[in-house]
């Protein structure tokens, strides 16, 4: 593979689809980057599982308040209009369908929308956190991910082989090569890197890519 998007560029692309005023939960780690790339004039409200709505950027080093952290245990700040609440209320927001978007990482995504992102198998210590709740709560569940694994295997598959996080829950995938919707249990290609042929993209995708209209160029800024 020659060219692919950086994580920052994938996060940027995902951020473009978040509307002004949307309530958004970003998974811990890579998805947290999405918050940095909100288009000018739009302001999403970010939710964190541990009980904050409308938290802001990281504080300056040395001025962290360790009672003011996000789900990734990183120190955050508050925006005007922020609110605190307990964990049951926090997941009422999640499970009750009040979030507009959840953006999560993935080990594997299947063409029917199944997501595997919490366990790489029976070895080691399993840990699930809030992912299984998020995939069944938010109105729209999107994934951001490299298109393939570190050793080049497809992450977009006919069916997941790793333990599932949720069944039929993902609706859009932002990868390092393409933007793909899940429509009626099929991968529907919406955008791809202009330098990449459809055949090349199909070659690194573990299930058939469909189209239902013109495939747009996936164009992102240098970041």
């Amino acid at each position: 593979m020659t060219h692919k998007l950086t994580n920052a560029q994938i996060a940027w692309r995902a951020a473009q689809d978040i509307q002004d005023g949307a309530y958004v939960n970003l998974g811990i780690g890579f998805p947290e980057m999405v918050a940095q790339y909100q288009p000018p004039g739009r302001q999403a409200i970010f939710h964190t599982e541990n009980g904050i709505l409308d938290f802001g950027e990281s504080p300056a080093k040395g001025s962290e308040d360790w009672d003011l952290i996000n789900a990734g245990k990183k120190a955050v700040t508050l925006n005007p209009g922020a609110a605190f609440f307990h964990h049951a209320d926090s997941f009422a927001m999640v499970r009750g369908g009040h979030l507009d978007v959840a953006i999560l990482g993935a080990y594997q995504v299947a063409q029917n929308g199944d997501l595997a992102n919490w366990s790489t198998g029976p070895k080691g210590v399993p840990a699930v956190g809030g992912a299984m709740d998020l995939v069944h709560g938010a109105k729209r569940v999107a994934v951001i991910t490299d298109h393939v694994t570190k050793d080049g295997k497809p992450k977009l598959l006919e069916s997941c082989t790793l333990p599932l996080t949720g069944v039929g829950c993902v609706t859009r995938i932002y990868t390092s090569l393409a933007v793909i919707d899940i429509v009626e249990k099929c991968f529907m290609l919406k955008e791809k890197l202009p330098t990449l042929s459809l055949a090349d993209l199909q070659a690194v995708t573990g299930a058939r890519l469909f189209t239902n209209g013109p495939v747009a160029d996936l164009i992102v800024p240098e970041l």
Partner: protein
């Protein structure tokens, strides 16, 4: 983000025929009288909405607020726990005449069903009502040797809510026991419309003191000096006021 709307008329404009509407309050405490009256005004002017299903703890008192809404004939069905009051004549007469449906729900079950609706819990088990008429036809399951009744979530198209302070994000506080069902209903309606005594700027309410985070609210309208049902009824008020 600005969820404020400038008038009561605008706030209730989207409520259509046949809608399900949660209305906050316990008796008059926390009852959004002005929002209810705005809905009545719309009905008087346009003939709509009608055929409403209303969820409230009570069935109104006197001839204002919820009682007035029922009196207009706009309400097809009431889901409540306690349809009695000092002056319940409006509901009582329609109910005994078979002109309004009643689904009677124990008060704690009503609260929990609404919370479940807001929290994405489609059903839960409660000891409440087991072995009584109100559990008839409901699924029973035993846990640890005790029998429980399965109850379903309750959601609505709209919630009409009375709060105290509100900001443009929809963050809310309440006044004393006027809190009651209001925060729950905010979570369980597709569109939550709130009247507040004062609109403040985001950040004006301490994040520790917000009772309803704005995510549960779609519209906020200011009613600076809201009326109390109890005071109106002691003055024998009637809504709409008789024209002649």
């Amino acid at each position: 983000m600005d969820k404020t709307v400038s008038s009561l008329t605008e706030a209730v404009a989207g409520i259509g025929d046949g809608a399900s509407v949660m209305i906050g309050g316990f008796g008059g405490s926390g009852a959004p009288i002005e929002l209810i009256h705005a809905l009545i005004d719309r009905f008087v002017a346009t003939g709509h909405p009608t055929g409403l299903t209303v969820i409230n703890n009570n069935a109104g008192n006197g001839h204002v607020g919820l009682a007035a809404l029922i009196e207009t004939g706009m309400v097809k069905k009431l889901i409540c726990s306690f349809p009695r009051s000092a002056d319940p004549v409006v509901f009582t007469e329609l109910y005994l005449a078979g002109k309004i449906e009643l689904e009677l729900v124990p008060q704690g079950t009503l609260a929990e069903r609404i919370r479940a609706g807001g929290a994405g819990i489609p059903a839960f088990y409660t000891p409440t009502g087991f072995g009584t008429l109100l559990a008839e036809g409901k699924k029973i399951e035993d846990f640890d040797g005790r029998s429980y009744v399965q109850e379903r979530w309750l959601k609505a198209d709209f919630a009409l809510v009375k709060a105290d302070l509100g900001d443009s994000h929809g963050n809310l506080t309440y006044n004393k026991a006027a809190r009651n069902f209001n925060p729950l209903m905010c979570t369980a309606a597709a569109t939550t419309i709130v009247q507040v005594s004062e609109i403040v700027h985001p950040g004006a309410i301490d994040p520790e003191h917000i009772i309803t985070p704005g995510i549960f609210v779609q519209a906020v309208v200011q009613v600076a000096n809201p009326q109390q049902e109890e005071v109106l009824n002691r003055a024998k008020a009637v809504y709409p006021e008789v024209a002649q």
